[in-house]
Subunit: 168 residues, 2 copies
């Protein structure tokens, strides 16, 4: 079944190309940019300023065609696509949890952007700590990578290489 | 700009109508259902079983036309649409964080479903505790409602009324 979405705004970020774009908001501290909501939706921003974090759903317009197995930039082994946050997916919809710094009219200033400049916006949702932070979380292959990072001698080299790619 | 998405599966849940559907996965503990991924994508599920929680992006096919101000079911005051998780939005894309109980072929059994039976699936992402749980979270109007609930005499009546609607 095909579904039509209409973009409701655009992301302005410091990142012009995938190389150098942080792989996740959590790795993008200090990456400040703006989200420009189409002016006709501005009334929908009421009450949002009270939230410290918001969820951006975006259309990852520069994503390449997807493969069902991908090597995540945080790992060296091919993993099932749906066990990764790789941008190339059947529906390349990005999910970014960013810190909301301020709202002026239809423009939101946010920190923690992991998105390319010009990324089309599909939705803004408030981040609800109560609903969006389940307890007792296990993270499969990612935990194994993390353990390896801690003990590896070359962990800083690995970290540097991660930062040079975009793979949310 | 219009964007075309293609559904990649369907959610099977116990909920046939909005009335009685939990408003959020966090309120839906025990609501077990399945996510049936189209068989052609099954190889993308490799490595996902190691994750305790997954994020479902869905098309909320029964959402009504949106308004820019809505009264959330958790509140009594009209709020800006983007400060709520109401299903009726410019792009009615649902975000559900659910517990993954098991995977058999192309069928995922999950707990915490807040979705209507037959909801089309757009994406499955692993829930990364590290990336998806920012610290220092403030939740605007929701916190005020929570404080009120704690002190209110009729909080159980309020809670019961909340449960009878769907408003993620």
């Amino acid at each position: 079944m095909k579904i039509e979405c209409e973009t409701i705004g655009v992301v302005h970020s410091p990142f012009q190309q995938a190389e150098g774009t942080p792989i996740q908001p959590a790795r993008a501290a200090g990456s400040v940019g703006t989200v420009e909501l189409d002016a006709r939706y501005v009334d929908g921003l009421a009450d949002l300023a009270g939230f410290s974090h918001i969820i951006l759903l975006t259309y990852l317009h520069r994503a390449k065609p997807f493969s069902l197995k991908v090597v995540p930039y945080l790992d060296t082994v091919p993993r099932g696509l749906f066990a990764t946050r790789a941008p190339s997916r059947p529906n390349p919809i990005g999910l970014s949890i960013v810190r909301l710094l301020g709202i002026a009219g239809n423009v939101l200033t946010v920190e923690g952007l992991d998105l390319l400049d010009g990324t089309p916006l599909l939705d803004i949702k408030p981040y609800f700590g109560e609903f969006d932070q389940p307890g007792d979380v296990r993270c499969g292959w990612l935990e194994a990578v993390r353990e390896h990072e801690v003990v590896a001698d070359n962990r800083f080299a690995v970290a540097g290489s991660e930062e040079s790619h975009s793979s949310k």
